[in-house]
Amino acid sequence: MISNNRQLLINFISTLISISAIMMLSYIQGKAMARDPNAFPFYMGPNNVIMKRNTEQRVIFEDIIDVDKDTGVLVISRDEDSEVIGVYDPEMVRAFENTYSGAGFTRYFSYDDYVNKTKAGILVSNACDWEYTSENISELLYCTDINSSFNYDGRTKEVVNLASLETLGDYVYLDYGDRQVADRIIKRLQDSGYRRQTLGYIGLLKSLFGSKEFADGVMTGGLVIYAFFGVASFWHFYNDRKKISIHFLHGGNLKKMTGKIMSPFVGLSVLGTIPVLLFSFWQRKTLYMTINNTSLLMFLATHVLITSLMYFLAFYSVFTMIRKSERGDSYVR
């Protein structure tokens, strides 16, 4: 059977299904990766960027951040295993969390602090000692309780002015409202030997079978669209039953006819993976898809396998229907 318009239509459906399926899978995968405790350091938003120092050489605050121009970002830095974090927060997004602020006796980091490198700091403590001073803090701004976002992993004790530290730490965490500034800072950090950290990659299968949330369940349920493919291809052959019975009456057996039917389908399916690949590459650019190449190819192979199997099963059921019925019954009508 040569490939006709309807054959092309079926293959088009298969391609559409694989696009839908890969988007749903990438959603499940994204959710699984977002459950990683390091996905949102310091409860930063989805824009957050983590940079890790990769060289021995250390950089100082002025080389990375220009206090006059670089606003619209939040930069937090700390050394590995350190209880002190340095904060540069010109937009005051982290000011006075869970803390009463009173005019005249508490204050937050200001522009002057970053310029003058004052050793101002915030203490993470439930019992506030207003006389507290240390190597990094000579002026206590206020105390914040241990549920503060500065203490998201329970390891922070002192929150200090990032400019007052001698160098930036091993890790630099960045969140932003102004993308250009953030890109500028990331660029400077990369030039100074920092490298951007990506989230731990969780494979497609692992995230599919490890999902626990209801939303993920719905998405996994979305994969029943493959069943719709089965239904559509069944009707595709059922509508063609006369043609199939003619072939059958003239000596076409299951093996021969399957070969004739499956080869164009599989060929076109493989061709159909090209637009899916292109689509996935485009999606990866928009950052909503994190799937890597191995998983992508695995998925496409599975997709071709499943759809071919369904296509064959649909043909097989129509074929047995014809074989069982009285010879020529549907042919004559």
């Binding site: 239509l9 959603y27 959710k31 824009n47 669209i225 291809s233």
Partner: protein, 353 residues
């Protein structure tokens, strides 16, 4: 006319299995498409959708311990409060004196209660029945004007203002400058607290911008807390992820339905052509087909409507509806064109390969 309707209904009965399969297919497919899209939509977008604010409030952040105050700054900022902006402060002394909450209102009091007139000078209001005719402030007696509690149009989180004993002392214009100057003379922080507590109508974007700009450049030691993630739709997510997904799902649905329906379509086309050639009117034949076919689409839409899946707040409902209408229109146009052919014998051929 009615005869044709009946014929259409008879067609449905004759092909009941096929009819059922088509309807169930469309309904289930739409459910899957809508569920998937809505799940993602809720997950990503809903948390970012905050209720539309009517009032913009600010969170003051002090960056100094000593907050300088001077009258010039106060006079310069007082213009902001002429309209659509108000600040509120409970007066400790008056509250203590009268035994009921007394609020000093600076600026446009009509934001708090539509009964308060936005006019120059000092005016005192209380919810009626207030049981209070005069109130003495700094040695001057002011008459209390009644306002209705039900007119209070206020912001959640400030429930205190709807307590029925509230008294509002409203200052506007020069009187506002004088009283704030008087209070700040005793305690300069009061000026900063009043500014930090300002409410501006959210629709007055220019005033909000002017206000924040003025405070950040002219009021030393006071800043406002910032947010990187302001609510609202993330349009890049909608257009690069959700829309392609919804579209590809609906396209899958349309195409699959066309594949399923094609066999029936050809059978019908042949039947109807025979009717036409035996003298039936074009409109009658078409009506008969549309009854059969419209019922499939109609029942699907009705089923989706009944189970409340057609959500028109997002583009998901419209996309699903549009795809159903695309199916409906394309097949309807196809059959009408096929029956209008000059050479109707074309339609009598068997399966077209």
């Amino acid at each position: 006319m009615f005869a044709n309707l009946l014929f259409g209904l008879r067609d449905i009965w004759k092909h009941k299995i096929f009819f059922g399969v088509c309807t169930v297919f469309l309904v289930v497919f739409s459910i899957v498409a809508v569920m998937v899209s809505i799940t993602i939509y809720n997950d990503y977008v809903m948390p970012r959708l905050m209720e539309p604010k009517t009032i913009e409030t600010f969170e003051p952040v002090y960056t100094r311990y000593d907050l300088p105050y001077d009258r010039v700054t106060l006079e310069n900022i007082s213009g902001i409060y002429h309209k659509n902006a108000v600040s509120l402060r409970q007066s400790q002394s008056l509250t203590g004196l009268y035994g009921r909450p007394v609020y000093l209102v600076f600026g446009d009091g009509s934001i708090i209660n539509s009964g308060i007139a936005n006019q120059e000078g000092i005016a005192v209001y209380a919810y009626e029945p207030s049981g209070l005719n005069y109130i003495e402030i700094l040695g001057v007696e002011h008459q209390v004007k009644p306002i209705s509690l039900s007119d209070t149009c206020l912001v959640t989180g400030y429930g205190l203002l709807s307590s029925p004993d509230c008294v509002f002392v409203v200052y506007q214009g020069e009187a506002m400058v004088e009283i704030i100057h008087y209070m700040a003379g005793n305690n300069p922080y009061i000026f900063h607290e009043i500014i930090g507590d300002t409410w501006v109508l959210a629709e007055d974007h220019k005033r909000i911008e002017d206000f924040t700009d003025f405070v950040l450049t002219n009021v030393e030691g006071l800043a406002f807390k910032g947010y990187f993630y302001k609510g609202g739709l993330d349009s890049s997510f909608l257009f690069s992820y959700l829309l392609p997904l919804t579209l590809s799902l609906s396209m899958t649905g349309i195409m699959s339905f066309l594949v399923i329906f094609q066999g029936m379509l050809q059978k019908m086309q042949r039947d109807l052509t025979i009717h036409l050639q035996s003298g039936a009117r074009f409109s009658d034949v078409l009506l008969r087909f549309y009854v059969f076919y419209g019922a499939i689409i109609g029942i699907t839409l009705a089923a989706l409507y009944i189970i409340r899946l057609l959500d028109f707040r997002t583009f998901i409902g419209p996309v699903i509806c549009t795809s159903l209408f695309i199916i409906a229109a394309s097949i309807a146009i196809y059959i009408a064109r096929a029956l209008k052919r000059t050479n109707l014998f074309e339609n009598l051929r068997g399966d077209m390969v």
